[in-house]
Amino acid sequence: MYRIKFNNALLGGAALSVAMSISGVAQAQQTPAGTSVNNQATVSYEVGGTTQSVSSNVATFVVDKKVNLAVAEVGGAPTQTALNATDQVTTFTVTNLTNAVQDFRLEADQQSVSIPLLGTDNFNMNNLRAFVDSNGNGTYDAGVDTQTYIDELAPDATVTVFLVGNVPNTPGIETAIVSLNAIVATGGSSGALGADLVASSTLVADSPSTVEIVFADDTGLLDQPRNGQQRAFDAYHISTAVVTMVKSATVISDPVNFLVNPHAIPGAVVEYCMKVSNAGPGTASNIVLTDAVPANSTFVPGSIAVGTSGTLGACILLGTSEDDNATGADETDLYGGSFDGTTVRATLPTVAPLASMSVAFRVTIN
């Protein structure tokens, strides 16, 4: 009889706790920092046939701040870009795994490490900056996504961050490896970046009634464990060949001065030189040059030459002479060249990165 009564009394208390817990459970996965966790036990007993019930003190502690974050690169592949391109974007996400709202300071870093999936770094981006995807559309919008730090990120929330930079106009560059370093900062003041969090010293006795800061972030490449920071890597990659051509004209001889300081007078022979340069990093292939013979000049038959570029005024260093028709073995002896009556045409199978090839032909001034 008594036991039944005890049970009922206990069930009353238990039912109370169930009602409270249901409303409190459907929150974030982690218990928010600053939550007071209270526990109170009850005991029922009988003495000399009398039922008594008493509650204990409340055992309590405050949940401390467990600082953690995740930074990830989006896409899994380098951003393809080109020489001299501006506002080139690599994309990352930052997730707040802390059990509290935090700010995050963002650092856009140039790296010189080599990462197998990204390539070997051999240049740095210019004016590399980090911007938050303020409008949340996953795409960098210049002038719209201008926030340079993450403001008030809720627990378990993720935000997209862009690294934006300009590619220098330097021949030969191929891969720039960059990284985004996110540093957990103090939250709570909307519209302003808080100070970097500092872990509570483990040498100081902690208090059950205050929120201590405990770093719980993992280690990573170039990242120390439990430092309140995480880093992820991405790269810019220039995959295309950048081919440029420069055309120049040199007077070879004239009917008066012959080869000594010739002038461009009627009857003079002029050599046109077209220099094709490849700034890389890819190899340019199947290049076809066409150039109409200028007015008031006459093509010199058999004057086409194609080969590697010369120096000190010489157009060709090492090449082949081409006849004027478009057939025969001379069209496939590495290079090709022809003249159809109005236009000079030359073919180059490949131009290697940072190399140049030239095409020369001569005309007589009418």
Binding site: L11, G13, V18, D64
Partner: protein, 151 residues
Amino acid sequence: MSYLLFIAALANAAPAPGQVEIHASVLAEARAPATDGTTRVTLVPAARITPGDRLVYRIEYRNNGKQAATGLVIANPVPAALQYAGPADGAPAPELSVDGQTFGPLSALKIRSGTTLRPATAADIRVVRWRLAQPVAAGARGQVSFRAILK
């Protein structure tokens, strides 16, 4: 409001401050590698607690009266932020409940979801309870405890 009334009624019904006194305390499990390669778990005051940490709740009881107390039933609601993780080392296993109505071992508990019943898991436990079979003699004391993980 009804809860408040209920508590008030309970307080009024209870006789003068009891002979049996209970005291609840919360401790944290601190893990440290021992020289023999194992991990040594020690209990420290619950000060630096973050989600995922393991806690031990200890409930000490003492009979301050001059007569033996019988039929001791100690009930402890599991705080909402905690997940029950079994009895503490050396402590008797409590009876468990997911609803405060039915108590038993975890394997006997079911959760109703819609029209079906599924077995309860440790995450569903809302109340733990110990029923002491032996009377607590005058002046005697003892303790029960359970482990929990901060969600």
